[in-house]
């Protein structure tokens, strides 16, 4: 580290930031591609099937179907990249990027381990340092922008099923964002701050929010499924009825869109873990070593990622009017009641 810092224009802080970006980027991408495999094996397990087992590494090792990942990657790369003649070209190319970028950068604000001090310099384990005044507003903003990938893909495809999927998705994401925001507001209010590290510290001091705000958790959890367009709310895709915003996409462009869905569920799981399950906090160990906190964060993250797969292959899809009913007439009043009840509880103390 000493010799590197003498390079012109490179400080330890910059190297540390670059390192964090690299770690988070590769971790998110790695988990996302791994999860395409977990999804298929998991669905096979839940449906009493065998699942992918035909791809063999060097023609020998089956490894529970894990080589399927490599096979898929090679296939996506070498498939002919067809652009249908009826699409709006520029937007058709732009859409996978618009879908992929928000899925990646939403994670930037989430702390994945305890802060530590090395040689008197404090280091934080999140890409955006705490105290940036953006805090939890950042993932909300990124989540709000994520809908453009779907909208642009749907519209530029110039295909009525794609547009149908895109319209469903945009209406759904906008409707559920309101309850989502209100559920998170109740947490901001209790903590008295909106920085993820403050939220985690507060949870370490006085208990995880899953116990203190079970209603808020229920709303947030449901909204996360709607925001990441997963079953039981996968109206953007509607796999069973060919309606899908990415109908016209193939090869690597489709791979980007598919991976961005996994990127979203990784961010969603990380948010659930951070807001309601103490983030990197280790139960009954307030002074846990740094590596243990990272491990605990990973365990929580992977658990909720598995819940996303679990729910997808367990629950059937809602009807569209049921989705709107649930969003506006059930979740919104619940989250409002949660907010007002918590405000009332807090105001009694004064």
């Amino acid at each position: 580290m000493e010799s590197v810092t003498h390079l012109p224009g490179l400080s330890a802080v910059m190297i540390w930031t670059l390192l964090k970006v690299l770690i988070v980027f590769s971790a998110v991408m790695g988990i996302a591609s791994l999860w395409t495999w977990v999804e298929r094996r998991g669905s096979a397990m839940l449906q009493d099937r065998i699942g992918p087992n035909r791809a063999l590494l060097f023609g020998r090792w089956q490894l529970l179907g894990l080589p399927q990942l490599v096979a898929d990657g090679i296939k996506f790369f070498f498939k002919e990249d067809q652009v249908p003649p009826h699409v709006t070209k520029s937007l058709y190319w732009l859409a996978p990027v618009l879908a992929f970028v928000p899925a990646l950068i939403g994670f930037a604000v989430i702390p994945f381990g305890r802060d530590f001090t090395y040689k008197g310099v404090p280091y934080h384990l999140s890409i955006l340092e705490p105290g940036n005044s953006m805090g939890m507003l950042f993932p909300l903003a990124i989540g709000a922008v994520a809908v453009y990938g779907i909208l642009v893909a749907a519209w530029s495809s110039n295909n009525k099923w794609a547009i149908l999927g895109g319209m469903r998705a945009s209406a759904q994401m906008v409707s559920y964002e309101i309850s989502l925001g209100l559920a998170v507001l109740a947490i901001f209010m209790k903590v008295g701050g909106y920085d993820p590290s403050e939220i985690i510290k507060d949870q370490m001091a006085s208990g995880w929010f899953i116990w203190r705000q079970p209603l808020g958790f229920l709303v947030f959890f449901t909204c996360m499924f709607a925001e990441s367009n997963r079953l039981p709310f996968d109206f953007a895709e509607g796999e069973a009825e060919i309606v899908g915003f990415h109908n016209e996409y193939g090869s690597m462009k489709f791979a980007l869109i598919a991976l961005s869905e996994y990127g979203h569920i990784i961010t969603a799981s990380a948010l659930i873990a951070t807001l309601y399950f103490g983030g990197w906090a280790v139960p009954f160990m307030p002074e846990a070593p740094v590596l243990l906190t990272i491990l605990f964060f990973l365990i929580k993250l992977l658990f909720f990622l598995w819940v996303f797969v679990w729910v997808r292959w367990t629950l059937p899809r809602f009807r569209y009017d049921q989705l709107m009913f649930l969003g506006w007439k059930v979740l919104l009043p619940i989250s409002m009641a949660n907010l007002i009840f918590n405000a009332w509880l807090m105001s009694r103390g004064h």
């Binding site: 005044s133 903003a141 709000a144 909208l151 642009v152 909106y194």
Partner: protein, 163 residues
């Protein structure tokens, strides 16, 4: 950095005006909002930047695009009869508002203090926004809330045939 964000804002706005396709024009407007959010960040006001993206890019423009898609009129319709006076009124309004904004900015207290800014400017955060609204601008806040509520009730009353 300022130039980058300013250029993004202006190019987005100009492209929106030149664009005949309504959906692409909407997307150009989103680009403009991102430029404005970047400008807010440079003014050390990340809260305004985040809210700009959440509210304008994330909710309002999505709803506008949604409505355009629903109505299925993707091309701008030509005017039935040209009214050149509209252009003159538009241009003069832009001039008046531009001069007004320039006058306000040049006369503001923050600009007078900017030369003797030995202390770093405190970044805005949600706590300070809340304090400002509920200490100093409570009346305006309540009036806006009432206005929005009445707009919402009016929208429902207009669209529902039988109440």
């Amino acid at each position: 950095m300022f130039l980058v964000f300013a250029l993004i804002t202006i190019i987005g706005a100009l492209a929106m005006f030149r664009q005949k396709n309504v959906i692409v024009a909407g997307l150009c407007m989103v680009l403009t909002f991102f430029g404005v959010a970047g400008l807010f960040l440079m003014l050390s006001n990340p809260v305004a930047a985040a809210l700009q993206i959440i509210v304008y890019s994330g909710a309002i423009m999505v709803l506008v695009l949604f409505t355009i898609m629903l109505l299925n009129s993707h091309e701008e319709e030509p005017a039935i009869q040209a009214r050149p006076i509209q252009r003159w009124v538009g241009a003069s309004l832009i001039a008046v508002f531009g001069a007004f904004a320039f006058y306000i900015v040049m006369g503001s207290k923050a600009l007078a203090d900017i030369d003797k800014a030995s202390r770093p400017i405190a970044g805005m955060n949600l706590v300070r926004v809340g304090e400002e609204i509920f200490r100093h601008y409570l009346l305006g806040f309540e009036i806006i809330g009432l206005l929005l509520l009445s707009a919402m009730v009016g929208a429902v009353a207009l669209t529902k045939k039988e109440l």
